[in-house]
């Protein structure tokens, strides 16, 4: 009798409680976590160095909030008299990873440059204009 019933009892317990006697409460919950993005800081006003019709533009890095620097920079040249943005020479077009670029074939005139931080689709505020560069 004992040998028959004990295995049966153990088997029944195993079926009833497959997790074992030490099993814990299984708990779940649903909701939302949160994450936050940085902000790209403003560009720093560049300086221009003239050599004939070539202008070497240099600037310093721009930072994100909480650190890190922009991946690149967009350079603009403005007519210093009218304030109209110009088509910039090829060496300074697009997003420039370096902190300098050289614009070749700059027409005679008075110009100002600006720097806009850029990382992928993100843009920081454009810098104030540089001092007037006379070519």
């Amino acid at each position: 009798m004992r040998r028959r019933l004990l295995p049966l009892l153990l088997a029944a317990a195993a079926v009833a409680f497959p997790g074992g006697a030490a099993a814990a409460w299984a708990l779940h919950g649903s909701g939302s976590g949160a994450a936050k993005a940085k902000t790209l800081g403003s560009g720093n006003a560049p300086s221009g160095s003239v050599s004939g019709h070539k202008v070497i533009v240099t600037w310093t890095a721009s930072s994100y909030t909480n650190g890190g620097t922009a991946a690149g920079y967009i350079i603009n040249r403005y007519n210093a008299t009218t304030g109209v943005v110009q088509t910039i020479g090829s060496a300074c077009t697009g997003t420039i990873a370096a902190l300098t670029c050289t614009e070749n074939g700059v027409p005679a005139g008075s110009w100002q440059y600006t720097v806009t931080p850029a990382t992928a689709n993100w843009r920081g505020p454009e810098s104030v204009k540089s001092a007037v560069v006379v070519v």
Binding site: M1, R2, L5, L9, A13, A16, F17, P18, G19, A23, A24, W25, A26, L27, H28, G29, S30, G31, S32, G33, A34, A35, K36, A37, K38, T39, L40, Y64, T65, N66, G68, A71, T119, A120, N121, W122, R123
Partner: protein, 160 residues
């Protein structure tokens, strides 16, 4: 004589098991699921509540970077809980507080977190930092700068 004594023992054992089953105190310990708010009741466990953790975020995401997710968990049960996994809700969408343009292309991806050991005391609320749990791609829209992202998740844990 021997046969009668064994039967009594078995009767006591069987009666004890049956009593535990009927009371629910043993069966209930194996399976309880749910979401949202609940309330404590003898023989049951309340679901974990996930609160708004946006106030504790620290700006660390930008295109090409990984960042942390903040998770605020309330355990209203009378026993401590250990959270072992946090996964993105199936079909859930990550949104921002910056509106449609950012929401259309947040660039933010959540990586399911497993093998965790995040402990919440009985009746307590804890805020956790899941470092490196999110990443931002170059697809992130310009309007996403400074955004707080809401990431729908499911958490799984067990009494601890």
């Amino acid at each position: 004589m021997v046969t009668i004594r064994l039967s009594r023992k078995l009767f006591v054992v069987l009666a004890a098991v049956a009593a535990l089953i009927v009371s629910g105190s043993l069966l209930a310990a194996w399976n309880t699921t749910g979401s949202g708010n609940g309330f404590a009741k003898a023989g049951t466990a309340s679901a974990l509540t996930i609160g708004d953790a946006s106030a504790s975020t620290s700006a660390d995401l930008y295109p090409g970077a990984t960042g942390a997710v903040k998770l605020k968990v309330t355990n209203s049960n009378s026993f401590p809980v250990r959270i072992t996994s946090v996964t993105k809700q199936v079909g859930g969408t990550i949104t921002s507080d910056k509106g449609a343009a950012c929401n259309a292309s947040t660039g933010v991806t959540f990586t399911d977190q497993t093998g965790l050991a995040l402990d919440v005391a009985a009746g307590a609320t804890s805020t956790f930092t899941l470092s490196g749990a999110v990443s931002m791609s170059n697809a992130s829209d310009n309007t996403c700068q400074g955004a707080i992202f809401t990431i729908p998740v499911d958490v799984t844990g067990a009494s601890n």
